[in-house]
């Protein structure tokens, strides 16, 4: 019984983790058809921002929930203005340029922080289920991911900002005729996506140590979650995060975490083959 509770909690945590690290990429890909291969490095920078702020005595919750998103959002804004805005509509070129950016950021962070692991202790103590020791901080991650998904859905579905954003993605000319500048909307969307990546990095920082190259571990998982999710930002991300999270954890419990990850990647290959338009291209067509 205790064991079942733990498996369920771990699956929930994995789903939350995938949803959290994919949210920023999902916004940028789902709405703008831009694949940001520097996404993992945005997450990594969010982590470094939190750790640097916490080391300077700033409250860690303030650091991860406010400072990280703001810092990475500003970086995203700069990147959009300097690089990405010239490449809209050229999917492969965007991927290549952001891959270059990812290498550049890894190099820069190595230069600044050095190639050594840094970490910060989790601010919530563990708790006991039967004989098992569980990380209390995992519950916080689950809560943040759930709140984030709800907030994204509400904003996209029910606010003026969300309406304009969705409208720009469907028909930039129409939105322009109605008095909004599509270029500004793209810029803000990319900034918000980057800020969400920073948030994910900040929230995950206490759980995973940080290295300049840690982004590679995030980008692959976020990538398959978003791409197999398809065009619908929230429904897609949630459905594939649930699927991959469950498969990963069940296989991990049955064998080793490495096999769990491999099973997740293999499942992504199969899904891409069967549904080249993503899960939401097949099901939940009219969702957000």
């Amino acid at each position: 019984m205790d064991f079942a509770a733990i498996v369920v909690l771990e699956i929930l945590y994995m789903i939350a983790f995938l949803a959290l690290i994919s949210a920023g990429l999902a916004i940028v890909f789902g709405m703008m058809r831009v694949i940001n291969l520097a996404h993992g490095e945005f997450v990594m920078l969010g982590g470094y921002a939190t750790i640097a702020a916490a080391k300077h005595g700033i409250n860690i919750y303030f650091a991860m929930l406010v400072i990280s998103p703001v810092v990475v959002g500003i970086i995203g804004l700069v990147v959009e203005r300097l690089i990405v805005r010239f490449l809209y509509g050229r999917m492969i070129d965007v991927m290549l340029a952001t891959w270059g950016l990812s290498l550049l950021l890894i190099g820069l962070v190595t230069l600044i922080f050095g190639n050594t692991a840094v970490s910060v202790p989790a601010p919530i103590p563990g708790y006991q289920i039967g004989h098992y020791q569980m990380g209390g901080y995992n519950l916080f991650v689950i809560a943040v991911a759930a709140l984030l998904m709800c907030a994204m859905w509400l904003v996209l579905r029910y606010t003026r900002v969300g309406l304009v954003a969705r409208g720009t993605m469907q028909g930039p000319e129409v939105v322009a005729a109605l008095g909004y500048n599509p270029s500004t909307v793209y810029m803000l969307t990319f900034t918000v996506g980057a800020a969400l990546s920073g948030l994910a990095g900040g929230v995950m920082a206490p759980l995973t140590g940080l290295l300049p190259s840690v982004g590679g571990a995030y980008v692959a998982k976020a990538f398959i979650t978003v791409i197999t999710g398809g065009a619908a930002v929230i429904a897609g991300t949630l459905s594939t995060a649930a699927l991959f999270g469950t498969v990963d954890q069940i296989v991990s419990f049955a064998s080793t975490p490495v096999l769990g990850e491999i099973a997740m990647l293999a499942l992504a290959l199969v899904l891409l083959r069967l549904m080249p338009q993503g899960v939401t291209g097949q099901f939940f067509r009219n969702s957000t």
Binding site: L87, G100, A220, I224, L265, A266, A268, L269, L272
Partner: protein, 350 residues
């Protein structure tokens, strides 16, 4: 694509011969270890240049076949000893894997971005798996996979049929150079053949080729397998150069580097990516000697600048510049001629 990118190009035999002679006498002037490595990277770049530049298939996981070639050779040579069969297997296994993955993607009509993701994921699976194969449980025949530490000390290439005579040093340099030049000629031959011309047609307009009755997925799968075999050859030669294979041959870094070589050198040329591999490879080796500036910083900056400023890469852009310069010369000459005629007319009617 303009007219210059459309053609398959001819081999300029005089240049080819000059290059071959230069490479042949190089060992007289320098040590051969670094040139061997650069030639191997050049071959790796060539394999992607053929597939991406001419068939328009982008792979974000080309390192998978490089790594498979390296691992296949190492595992097979432990088990077989004599190196001829392992060498051939190092071409066959990546080709077969590429054919399977290619067939899965191309018959499934997976396009562009999804192709990138699929190839990337395959590389990641191999990388994660090989990293986790530490311990005695993971062995194939006599070869222990060794996890993160890789497979060291396998028998290197020997003279075919004579396992006691190893090939190393300058001799190995010549083996690599001959492989590279032969691969280049094979690529040229493929591009000049009906098969190659069909591939270029598919790159230009896939739907039209399909309606003309060509079996597009079969062609794409075939070139994917050929490029896989060539990358496998590069991987096998790399394994013999390094005398150890580690999971980093499947790494994101390896994949990123070969992409950068090809795009910097220029899509739709073969010599451009090969040269870019040599130049950027030398740069990487030079940067490896100091610690202030990270190699990935420089590579990343180069990639961003090339995508933004020279999206066609150096070789095609330099051809375009030369042409534009020639045209401006012609215009200037015409303008000068016109001015002279006008002056002559003015002088003629006082």
């Amino acid at each position: 694509m303009n007219a210059s990118g459309f053609g398959v190009g001819r081999i300029r035999w005089n240049w080819f011969a000059a290059l071959a002679v230069l490479l042949a006498v190089l060992p007289l002037a320098s040590e051969t270890s670094t040139p061997t490595l650069l030639a191997i990277w050049s071959l790796f770049a060539l394999s992607l240049a053929l597939m991406w530049g001419y068939a328009g298939i982008i792979s974000f996981g080309h390192a998978a076949y490089f790594g498979l070639g390296a691992y296949t050779y190492a595992i097979a040579s432990f088990n077989i000893g004599e190196s001829t069969v392992p060498f051939l297997l190092a071409l066959a296994v990546p080709a077969l894997v590429a054919a399977i993955i290619g067939a899965m993607m191309f018959y499934g009509r997976i396009s562009d971005v999804y192709l990138g993701v699929t190839t990337l994921v395959v590389t990641l699976i191999l990388n994660r798996f090989m990293n986790a194969t530490a311990g005695d449980a993971y062995r194939i025949g006599n070869a222990r996979l060794g996890g993160f530490n890789g497979i060291p000390a396998f028998p290197t290439l020997n003279v075919p049929g004579d396992p006691t005579t190893q090939i190393y040093g300058t001799t190995y340099y010549y083996v690599v150079i001959v492989s590279l030049l032969a691969a280049y000629l094979i690529c040229r031959w493929i591009l000049a053949s009906a098969f190659g011309r069909t591939l270029i047609g598919i790159r230009e307009n896939e739907l039209r080729m399909e309606l003309l009755g060509y079996n597009v997925p079969a062609y794409k799968t075939a070139i994917f397998a050929v490029a896989g075999a060539m990358a496998g050859l590069a991987g096998c030669l790399f394994a013999n150069w390094a005398e150890i294979v580690t999971p980093s041959v499947f790494g994101l870094g390896q994949t990123a580097e070969v992409l950068i070589w090809v795009i910097v050198g220029g899509l739709g040329t073969l010599i451009g990516p090969m040269a870019a591999a040599v130049v950027l490879g030398s740069l990487k080796i030079a940067l490896g000697h100091q610690t202030t500036i990270d190699n990935s910083l420089v590579l990343g900056a180069i990639l961003i600048l090339v995508v933004l400023l020279l999206p066609r890469g150096f070789a095609p852009s330099s051809v375009a510049w030369r042409r534009r310069f020639a045209q401006s010369q012609v215009r200037r000459r015409q303008a000068r001629g016109k001015r002279r005629r006008r002056i002559a007319l003015q002088e003629a009617e006082p």
